[in-house]
């Protein structure tokens, strides 16, 4: 009997058509249902260094009535590229972490609705290991001009400007400071002086740099102006200091994504990241200075770090020139 009914089902054109229709409609419905978010949800996409505490997320949810979901992406550059690829149907409502090296690209691709609002800033500077230079009785470097001198041969590690925003910031610094073709000459001299190029900041700082936890072989690293505050040893002194001549001022932004499903919620996120409560967390969690002048700065920072008197590269057009800089850079290092 069972076989007979099965036979019927296998053969009836109506049953077959119905089954196919059910499968097709089922797939569409499944895609639709799993792809739709709750009305109260607001999604903030961020680069992978973003930190927001549970209590701040709860505070946001409570004060705004929305339900904040964080979407951690790759580093800022890869995140921006992903957003451009998916802009027809954005993966989030708001974005944090596009910085001044990427803002032009984001604007040119019509990624953002309304303005990009600055939230925080920091300086990309070289750090050096004070202990290493004291032990080897070599004068500490004072400017990026020193890095091509023979006494600093094979002591420096930088990040690849094609893969790291930190690296790109330094490339821009040299373009601004030395002009064209001065910057290419500078990089050729750096290469001849055996500079090491890493793919990302974490590898350069935590693995190759001698002054941090990795205790690597390189006593000079491209990092941030605030990094020395994290290398304070038991004697109350920082093991590292910044080279203040040749820093780049990096500014990070938050903005509403064009085509956001929940633009009002995204606006609320943009406002929240500017609020005193959130601004106060920038130094502690993301090692950046809050944009809000009244937000507190950690005492350690005031004690162990200095702001450079002059920064380079802020005035450059990254969107227009990045490709040609990288091309020229790869011709030197490729």
């Amino acid at each position: 009997m069972k076989g007979h009914t099965m036979k019927k089902i296998f053969r009836s054109p109506i049953a077959i058509t119905a089954a196919i229709l059910i499968i097709v409609i089922g797939v569409f419905v499944a895609v639709k249902v799993t792809g739709t978010k709750q009305n109260k949800d607001v999604v903030l996409v961020t680069h992978d260094s973003f930190v927001m505490s549970k209590s701040l997320i709860q505070e946001f949810d409570k004060t705004t009535g929305y339900n904040l979901r964080l979407l951690t992406s790759e580093d800022a550059g890869a995140m921006t590229n992903r957003l451009i690829l998916t802009k027809a149907d954005p993966i989030a409502d708001a974005v944090f972490g596009i910085d001044n090296t990427l803002a032009g690209e984001a604007q040119a691709n019509n990624l953002i609705a309304g303005p990009l609002v600055p939230t925080d800033f920091g300086d990309v500077c070289f750090n050096y290991d004070k202990y290493w230079f004291a032990a080897h009785k070599i004068a500490v470097p004072a400017s990026i001009n020193d890095l091509i001198k023979p006494q600093y041969k094979a002591l420096t590690v930088v990040e690849n400007p094609a893969t790291s925003s930190t690296g790109l910031s330094f490339l821009a610094t040299t373009v601004d400071k030395f002009g064209t073709p001065g910057w290419q000459k500078y990089w050729s001299a750096l290469k001849a002086n055996q500079v090491k190029v890493d793919d990302g900041w974490e590898a350069a700082y935590y693995t190759d740099f001698s002054g941090s936890s990795g205790k690597g072989p390189y006593p000079i690293v491209l990092s941030y102006g605030t990094s020395p505050a994290d290398e304070v040893r038991s004697n109350g002194q920082s093991q590292t200091a910044s080279i203040l001549d040749g820093c780049f001022k990096q500014t990070e932004y938050v903005g509403v994504l064009k085509g956001a499903r929940n633009p009002a919620g995204a606006e609320a996120v943009v406002r929240f990241l500017q609020s005193p409560d959130f601004q106060a967390t920038f130094p502690g969690t993301m090692y950046m200075y809050p944009k809000l002048a009244s937000a507190p700065i950690p005492a350690d920072w005031l004690k162990y770090t200095q702001l450079p008197a002059k920064t380079y590269g802020d005035n450059l057009d990254f969107n227009k020139d990045r490709a040609s800089w990288l091309h020229a850079w790869e011709a030197i290092f490729g």
């Binding site: 053969r11 077959i16 569409f28 996409v45 992978d48 992406s73 690829l85 027809a88 590898a203």
Partner: protein, 508 residues
């Protein structure tokens, strides 16, 4: 049955050929020549080819004594060793990369070749060994009586009989080594670039889609060429597997056994055991601390979700992609006479998962089928890469079934599907279980497509592992090693099971 076939055609057209053609179309602009013909692309292509070719040669060389020792003859424990050396082939590539890096941190081309051999040696051994089992040994015995040594016998006789198996294993190994995305990305560490990693980096770093599409074109050309040679080889030198001419080990086999034991221990077991040992050494001391951390999100909350949650995502994706791949794959395989349908479904094996993921990303963005927004996008993309595997396992077993059954069934008026359901399905239980096992393992380890298609709370185990090892730090690294160790044990258990099922089948 026409409507079902039409549906199958519509599925493969929409979900595979559409995204691939759209992606390649992005590269077909006035810059295609300059994108293809420049020193960088040529250098990347050349490196992809030679590292694959070199790895293949070494893998075949090492596989020869092992194929003899582990398949042609039998000694206590040979089954277990055969299962152990087959494990790396189906380990997630990202896990292989983590294991080898824990053992030997190096990002040279040589390290990549070692990794390729590590993955494919057991696989090559299996293909050659299965063919070796099928050889009639009377000629060899005659040579034996004439006093020929093992090595002489091999070069004079056996190597001709195994030509088909060697060519098959060689081209397949070459194919896998030319598409070793996860290995190249992690071990190459940005210093070495193959076609696949360049496709990925062209998108994530410089967002140059035409360049990525041009590289996809080159990659497709290489894999399709390799597939063509595999097909030709199968036609020209058919070899039989499954027949069981296993000989008891003799005294003169001791050198072959020793050589394979040394390779198995030094190449396969040592890195895997080293990884498991290292995973037990957390910064806080010996113990299971790294395993306890698997439920956290890593140092400074690197991850959006914990590894445990990522594991659940992977299991969920595996369940869905296995369902789609098994149903579709078995249906397509049951239509043995629709050669075009089968060919259309088998072709995806020649497309890199990176290319398919990118194709999905640029195709299913918006419009009537907004798949990109749904987490279903990852299992659906993965299932298309798995269907060829199902067909590959089931089709030969199906062909081996007695043709008389089919004749009889048709004269009795049974339809294709009915014949499949009542006659073939019960007889093919073994191969179907084997296919299911492989499909689940491959889906859990799939990295190339998932890397493009998952993010945030949808991340899968391999993508989360990649995030962890890209952000150095003892805690993250410890977690990555612990999760990798668990996966290795799991995969070894499943391969042993598959091995057991296969052997049971052969005895029937």
């Amino acid at each position: 049955m026409q409507p079902w076939k039409l549906l199958a055609l519509a599925i493969i057209a929409t979900l595979f050929y559409q995204p691939i053609i759209r992606l390649i179309a992005l590269g077909l602009n006035h810059q295609i020549i300059s994108n293809l013909w420049n020193t960088k692309t040529l250098g990347i292509t050349w490196f992809t080819l030679w590292q694959a070719a070199f790895s293949t040669l070494i893998a075949l060389l090492l596989a020869t004594p092992s194929a003899y020792a582990l398949y042609r003859i039998r000694f206590p424990g040979s089954h277990l060793i055969a299962a152990a050396i087959a494990t790396p082939f189906i380990l997630p590539t990202i896990v292989v990369a983590i294991a080898l890096q824990a053992y030997w941190h190096n990002s040279s081309a040589f390290a990549v070749i070692v990794a390729n051999v590590f993955m494919n040696y057991g696989f090559a051994t299996r293909i050659i060994g299965s063919a070796w089992q099928g050889i009639d040994n009377s000629i060899e015995e005659a040579a034996q009586l004439d006093g020929a040594s093992e090595v002489k016998k091999f070069f004079a006789i056996t190597r001709f009989e195994l030509k088909g198996a060697y060519l098959s294993a060689g081209f397949l190994t070459f194919l896998y080594c030319a598409a070793n995305f996860g290995l190249m990305l992690v071990i190459g560490g940005g210093k070495l670039a193959s076609l696949e990693t360049s496709i990925y980096l062209s998108v994530s770093e410089i967002l140059n889609l035409p360049r990525a599409a041009a590289l996809v074109l080159v990659q497709c050309a290489i894999t399709l060429l390799a597939l063509f040679f595999i097909y030709r080889t199968r036609m020209a030198y058919p070899f039989f597997t499954g027949s069981n001419r296993v000989l008891p080990a003799k005294r003169r086999d001791i050198p072959a056994i020793c050589v394979s034991l040394v390779i198995a221990l030094s190449l396969i077991a040592a890195p895997l055991c080293a990884l498991i040992m290292k995973s037990l050494h957390a910064t806080t001391g010996f113990g299971l601390h790294n395993y306890g951390n698997l439920l956290t999100r890593g140092a400074r909350a690197t991850l959006s979700i914990s590894l445990g949650q990522a594991g659940l995502n992977s299991l969920r994706n595996a369940a869905i992609s296995a369902l789609i791949a098994m149903v579709t794959g078995l249906f397509v395989a049951s239509n043995e006479r629709s050669r075009i349908l089968i060919a259309l479904y088998r072709l995806p094996v020649g497309i890199s998962s990176v290319a398919l993921g990118l194709g999905y990303l640029v195709t299913f963005n918006a419009g009537i089928f907004p798949l990109r927004n749904s987490w279903l996008i990852t299992p659906i993309a993965q299932s298309l890469l798995l269907i060829p595997l199902v067909i590959q396992v089931v089709l030969p077993a199906q062909a081996a079934l007695n043709e008389d059954f089919a004749q009889l069934a048709r004269t009795d008026g049974l339809h294709n599907l009915e014949y499949w359901w009542y006659i073939q399905r019960p007889l093919l239980k073994g191969p179907i279980m084997v296919a299911l096992g492989y499909v689940v393992i491959v889906s859990i380890g799939e990295f190339g497509a998932a890397n493009f298609l998952t993010y945030g709370d949808q991340a899968t185990l391999p993508t989360v592992l990649y995030q962890l090892i890209s952000r150095p730090g003892a805690l993250n690294y410890g977690m990555a090693m612990a999760a990798s160790s668990l996966l290795i044990v799991l995969v070894f258990a499943i391969t042993s099971l598959i091995d057991y099922i296969t052997r049971e089948q052969e005895l029937v």
